[in-house]
Amino acid sequence: MLYALMGLGLSLITGVLNIPNFAHGALFAIGAYLLVSAANLVGNFWVGLLLAPLGVALLGLMIEYAGIRRLYAAGHDYQLLFTFGLALILNELIIVIWGPVGISQLPPAILRGGVDLGFTFYPKYRLFVMVMAGMLVLLTWLFLEKTKYGAIMRAGIENKEMVSLLGIDIHKLFTFAFALGAFLAGIAGALTAPIRGLSPGMGVDMLGIAFVVVALGGLGNLLGAIAAGLLIGVAQAVVAAYWTEASTAVIFAVMALVLLIRPQGMFGIR
């Protein structure tokens, strides 16, 4: 579900702004670090979980407004280079602020330990993350499908010029899409912190997987991103149960297989 959350945010940005956001992994990492800082500051994990993605969304908003927007006229390559450079800067910024040494964040006391599900033993916190990420994916999906602003965003993915001609401020749409994508990356990072811990390079692995999810689902295809995220997660879990060593390789094997059969991704490019 976390993969779906990351893929959905990245797909949204790719679809609306038409740029692959290489800083998505760094935003994921900042979400995790902000959770730790906020949770330590107020002494409450849940408040941290609420504040961290909002902070990342705000950062996303600033990145679009102060950076990417200035480069629309310069062309696609410059935006791409900008997000790539930004990823490096954010990564170094994490080291400057939080240091190079890894950090552990404990789950809240109520979610520590595991539960016996009968067929397997599973950590309570991972179950919580599954439910929470599922709900977030559903809420994002409902927002995009059932609200007026969601419809505008989908229209922006389909045909930006037409949306602009209808009198809608396309720049506001871009800013909002980037901030929403950043929010989803931020909350995925915050939810991941107690599972994987924190290290400055934590976003790099996740960025690779998020791009796999986007390519697998179809570039800019939101439904595709959700389905691909789920497919990758399930494939990884199933393979890990029988052949643990291949659990990472399977992510890329599934992508290669699907793209060989459907180069446009499972749900096609939007």
């Binding site: 595991g114 033993f121 309570k124 811990g197």
Partner: protein, 401 residues
């Protein structure tokens, strides 16, 4: 000034100056620190560099009256990159003495370069092959033999927990993991330990849930991790998240000590037992001074990585002193059989295998309430120095130059 005068002055400078430069270059002893700055051990390389630099700076970057030129290369935790950059430093910089890298698998490849290029090579890691089946005259192993480590860990853990007979192993799938696993199983036989599971994971693994799920299903009395660095931290965290620790004890059989423990919160460290090549409370005069200097400089106590680099460099420098020479073969002969009272106490290099015979340390992490300060992670509960028994020794002939 005439053009002719300038040419004369130039010729005079060339005659007088160049030989001086050449003489200076000949005097210089070039030592290579092959430390990873990128790849799986990117976090360890800078720490290795700290330790090696400290040991050289203690001697004012001089050996036998000659200046030491310390060069470093990033091996990227990859055999191809490490060997290429080592060769480049040997051919280009004139390095004749080399320490590193950190990964056992990579070091085995670098050891072949040392042999081919006839360069003295010191290494610290968990593979037994450098001083075992792939031993040769140019490479030396500083870390304890995997047997010494396994014997120290298993014997002392069983002494404290005689009923914990069902062991589940999580093993890093490369040379170091295989070596330590082999001897833990071997020593375990003497205690009647049943190994209910042994899963191998790739170097750089960060997703341990599936491994821990399998471990939990086996209902072990103890989980043992034979991995290192980020892998060990990720594994320990996941084992805690599954609720195995602190109910089930966790052993990190070959840990960096401080560098790993600092990344785990005290709750995760509860009921954690740690085998390590160095811990900062080791009670020797050299260790006390090194720890104090290191803390003054870097604020944290040193773990295995800087200490190994520091001690290997000191060992190499001691061999220079003993040889009274900077020729590679003279220094090798001096290292073979050298005995020093240094960082870990009494240390000796076995001339037959090039294995350093030295103590290995076993710690028990402290519960949060017993910690005197933030970095007071553990109590040193035992030290072991049982050497590899002859029947296991795979280095039959160290060979010639």
């Amino acid at each position: 000034m005439q053009r002719r005068d300038i040419l004369k002055a130039g010729a005079a400078a060339a005659t007088l100056g160049f030989p001086a430069i050449i003489r200076a270059q000949q005097k210089e002893v070039v030592i290579l620190g092959l430390w990873d700055q990128t790849g799986a051990f990117a976090d360890v390389g800078p720490l290795n560099d700290r330790g090696m630099r400290m040991a050289l700076e203690e001697r004012d970057m001089k050996i036998l009256g000659r200046p030491v030129k310390y060069v470093t290369r990033d091996g990227a935790t990859q055999a191809g990159t490490s060997t290429r950059r080592a060769e480049e430093a040997i051919d280009g910089e004139g390095a004749r003495f080399m320490i590193g890298p950190w990964s056992s698998g990579v070091a085995l490849a670098v050891s072949e370069v040392a042999k081919r290029k006839k360069v003295l090579h010191l290494f610290s890691g968990g593979t037994e092959d450098i001083s075992g089946s792939r031993c040769h005259r140019y490479s030396f192993q500083w870390a304890a033999s995997p047997y010494t480590a396994a014997k120290t860990v298993v014997d002392n853990f069983m002494k404290a927990n005689p009923k914990a007979k069902r062991w589940h192993l999580l093993v890093a799938d490369y040379a170091f993991g295989w070596s330590v696993e082999k001897y833990i199983k071997e020593v375990g036989k003497n205690h009647g330990i049943e190994f209910v599971g042994a899963d191998r994971h790739p170097l750089g693994e960060r997703e341990f849930s599936n491994y821990v799920q399998k471990a939990a299903a086996n209902r072990p009395d103890v989980v043992v991790m034979i991995n290192f660095g980020g892998d060990a931290v990720a594994g320990a965290r996941e084992i805690f998240n599954f609720g195995l620790t602190p109910k089930v004890p966790l052993i990190m059989a070959w840990s960096s000590g401080v560098e790993e423990l600092i990344q785990l919160s005290p709750e995760i460290r509860e009921n954690l037992w740690v085998g390590t090549n160095f811990y900062y409370t080791v009670d020797t005069p050299v260790a006390k001074k090194f720890v104090a200097d290191y803390r003054a400089k870097f604020k944290t106590p040193p773990g295995y990585a800087p200490s190994a680099a520091y001690s290997m460099t000191r060992l190499m420098l001691a061999a220079f002193d003993k040889a009274k020479s900077v020729e590679v073969q003279d220094v090798i002969k001096a290292l073979e059989g050298i005995e020093v009272n240094d960082l870990l106490g009494q240390m000796r290099v076995d001339p037959a295998t090039h294995q350093t015979l030295r103590p290995y340390f076993f710690l028990r992490c402290k519960p949060k309430a017993q910690m005197k300060e933030e970095l007071d992670f553990a109590t040193l509960i035992a030290t072991g120095d049982a050497p590899l028994p002859k029947e296991y020794a795979a280095c039959k002939d160290i060979g010639g130059f």
